[in-house]
């Protein structure tokens, strides 16, 4: 059997990984074995957090809507607002409601007053 050197194959593969992890801190962007592990962890986190992102944003919208809804002198809460919205079959989702709450809170009070009636 003749000896075969593998040449640049490994280096090409590792270059891609190093490029991916080029902005990581310290040894995580410099040492090969460490960068491979850190790239794996980064991709796993990204995959998991793409699912968590949807959860986080929904939480944020609910908190913002709740904050504005509770400001009224009558005690009115987010849970009651959502219940009334479902009863009146208003399909506005929480994202839009939160953006309305920030940009134009009078509009949100108009909507909620309409729904209470």
């Amino acid at each position: 059997m003749t000896r075969i050197k593998r040449g640049y194959i490994t280096r090409r593969r590792r270059k891609k990984i190093r490029l991916f992890a080029s902005t990581f801190r310290g040894a995580h962007s410099r040492l090969t074995r460490t960068t491979i592990q850190q790239k794996m962890r980064a991709l796993v986190s990204a995959h998991r957090d793409r699912r968590r992102q949807k959860i986080h944003f929904r939480r944020l919208w609910i908190a913002r809507i709740n904050a504005v809804i509770r400001d009224n002198k009558v005690s009115y809460t987010y849970s009651r607002l959502i219940n009334n919205m479902y009863k009146r079959q208003l399909l506005l989702n929480r994202k839009i409601l939160a953006q309305i709450a920030i940009s134009n809170s009078n509009c949100l009070s108009m909507i909620s007053n309409e729904i209470i009636k």
């Binding site: 944003f57 944020l60 919208w61 908190a63 913002r64 904050a67 504005v68 509770r70 400001d71 005690s75 009146r88 079959q89 208003l90 399909l91 994202k95 839009i96 939160a98 953006q99 309305i100 709450a101 920030i102 940009s103 134009n104 809170s105 009078n106 509009c107 108009m110 909507i111 309409e114």
Partner: protein, 239 residues
């Protein structure tokens, strides 16, 4: 934005007031971009009217996909500006400058400790604002006066223990509520509120927005603090 809201609320008003007069504009049910599936609501004409209107099919602010008869709804500044409906608002640096924040003042005399601390933490964290963001300090400043007169229910005055540890072995120091109240009354409210704020860098920064004072005076008159609105009915100690 005002026009768009007015039109959406007026459409809501008109649909809720006259469901029978306006018919759907299409004969066969078609896929609305809004929902992505065929919707044929059996019982409600309100939902059918809301979905059949072409308003909801426009998802971006590119005016070219808006039919000509509806372009009046979009103001020029909104159409060319950033997409506010698909990107959740995040505060810029100018939205949370410390000098523009609201200052509140609370009189702690005859108020139950935990309920008061909960309300204070709610306002310091900024959860009363529509612009609440958990990663940014959007909250207000709170000044507490008459801290030595705060109340607790039950036998907590003699039985509630405040512990601290100096780090050395055998260095645990224990004090009861009234001992601490005689020594350093501000620490009681600070301890309570600190336990209710988030723990971390941001939480520690938020804690600096709490100012507690012993007597009825406070040096923050220049900030013109307003009274903290308290919704909790059981916060006043009953005599």
């Amino acid at each position: 934005m005002a026009m768009l809201c007015a039109s959406s609320s007026s459409s809501l008003l008109s649909t809720s007031s006259s469901p029978s007069t306006s018919k759907p504009s299409f004969a066969s049910p078609k896929k609305t971009q809004f929902l992505g599936f065929n919707l044929s609501p059996p019982n409600s004409s309100i939902a059918a009217n809301l979905l059949s209107r072409p308003h909801f099919q426009v998802r971006c602010q590119d005016l070219s996909v808006v039919p000509k008869e509806q372009r009046w709804m979009f103001e020029e500044s909104e159409a060319q500006g950033p997409d506010i409906w698909n990107k959740t608002w995040y505060p810029k640096a100018s939205d949370h400058v410390n000098t523009d924040k609201q200052w509140y003042v609370v009189d702690a005399s005859d108020k139950i400790l935990g309920r008061l601390a909960s309300t204070i933490a709610y306002y310091i964290r900024g959860k009363n604002l529509a612009t609440y963001t958990p990663s940014v300090d959007m909250g207000s400043f709170v000044v507490v006066v008459n801290a030595e007169k705060v109340e607790v229910s039950g036998k907590k005055r003699t039985q509630k223990l405040y512990r601290r540890h100096s780090g050395r072995p055998g260095g645990m120091k224990v004090e009861t509520f009234d001992q601490l109240q005689n020594r350093i009354p501000e620490r009681i409210i600070e301890h309570a509120v600190r336990g209710m704020l988030p723990k971390g860098r941001l939480g520690r920064a938020l804690f600096n927005h709490l100012k507690v004072y012993k007597g009825p005076d406070h040096p923050h008159e220049a900030q013109q603090p307003i009274d903290l609105p308290i919704r909790d009915k059981r916060i006043q100690k009953e005599k």
